[in-house]
Symmetry: C2
Subunit: 163 residues, 2 copies
DNA sequence: TCCGGTTGGTTCACACGTCAACCAATCGCT
DNA sequence: AGCGATTGGTTGACGTGTGAACCAACCGGA
C-alpha cells in the first residue's frame, strides 16, 4: 500500500501556507472578538444569524442548518448563551416538541457592536491585502473543495441543504 | 463609528468560500484520521514531528515551538497521549527542569500507517483538483496573511521563530 | 386507530484548548 | 556567592465540540 505519492514542493508550500493561515486566522479573529466584544467566534455566528432573522427569532433546527452545526453542539451552546442572557428559549407555538430561540436586547446590542469590528478585523488581516484576482482564485478554490467534500461526504458530518 | 465599510460582493464570496473550506477541510481530515487511524488531528501533528526528529525524541518546548502550541496545551495533550502509550516522558539528562518526549513503538507504527493515508486524503480533497497557478496563489495568500498576523500579533498568541 | 419511523431537542461522558497560577531549575548580573 | 528574572513544565477551572443514548411529539401508512 505505498501507492500514495507524497506532496511535491509546490504542493507542500501551498499546504503549509494554508494550514498556517487557517490556524492563525481563526485564532486572531477569535481573540479579537473575545477581548474587544466579549464574544467567542461561536457566539458571533449564532448572534449574526439571529440578527438577520425576522424578529431575531429562529427555530434551533433552522439555526443548526445555517451554521452547519451538530444539534448537540447547538443545544449546549444555546444553554451557555442563555445563561449569559444573549438569547432566550421559548416553547414553540406550532410544534410542541420544539423551541424558538430569540435574541435578547443585550444580544442585539452586542452583535451590532461586534459586526463592524469583526469586518474591520477581516479587512485588516486579509481583504485589504489581496488583489481581485486573488480573491476570485480563493473563492474558486473554496468552491472546488466544497464540491469535493460534498461528493465524498455523502452523509458524513452535518449536512446542509443550501438555502 | 460607522467608518468600517462592509465587504463587497467579491470579497463576501471569497470570505464565505474560505470559511466553508476551512471548516469543511479540518472536519473532513480529522474525521478520516480518527475513524481510519484512531488519531485526532492533534495526535497526528505531534507524532509527525516526533517521527521526523532524531531517535523520535524531542524536548517539549521544541515540540511546542514547531507546532506553535501553547505550553499548557502541549502538556495536557502529551498527558493524554502518554496514557494511550503513543509517547513516553522521561526526565531530561542535561536540564533538571525539563523532560524529553519520545515516540513509542506503538506511536511509530501508527504514524507511519497514518501518514500516507493522510496525504492521500489531502490529495483527494484538495491537491489533485488545483492547478499549479492556484497552488501558487494559495501559498502567496497564506504568506500574506502570515505576514499581516505577525505584524499585528507582535506577541499575542504563541510566537514561533521560524526554524 | 394504532404503531413504527422520523424529527426536534436535551443530556451525559469525554476529548480538547485557554488562561492564570504555580513550582523548580537555570541564567544573568553584581 | 547571592538574588531577581527568565525558562520549562504542570495543574485546575472553565468554555467548547462530539457521539451516543434518550425522550417526546409528529407523521404516515395499514
Amino acid at each position: 500500500m505505498d501507492e500514495a505519492r507524497w506532496l511535491d514542493e509546490r504542493e507542500q508550500r501551498a499546504w503549509r501556507a494554508l494550514m498556517v493561515m487557517q490556524d492563525g486566522l481563526s485564532e486572531f479573529l477569535d481573540r479579537r472578538l473575545r477581548t474587544r466584544c466579549g464574544l467567542s467566534g461561536a457566539d458571533y455566528e449564532v448572534l449574526a444569524h439571529l440578527a438577520e432573522a425576522p424578529e431575531g427569532r429562529l427555530r434551533p433546527f433552522e439555526l443548526g442548518r445555517l451554521l452547519r452545526w451538530e444539534k448537540s453542539r447547538l443545544s449546549q451552546h444555546l444553554g451557555r448563551m442563555e445563561k449569559r442572557e444573549l438569547v432566550t428559549r421559548e416553547p414553540c407555538a406550532t410544534d410542541q416538541r420544539g423551541a424558538v430561540v430569540a435574541l435578547t436586547d443585550r444580544g442585539r446590542v452586542l452583535i451590532e457592536a461586534a459586526a463592524p469590528q469583526h469586518v474591520g478585523d477581516v479587512r485588516e488581516v486579509l481583504m485589504d491585502h489581496l488583489s481581485p484576482d486573488e480573491l476570485d482564485t480563493l473563492a474558486t478554490i473554496g468552491d472546488t473543495v466544497r464540491a469535493r467534500l460534498a461528493a465524498l461526504g455523502q452523509g458524513s458530518g452535518p449536512a446542509a441543504s443550501e438555502g
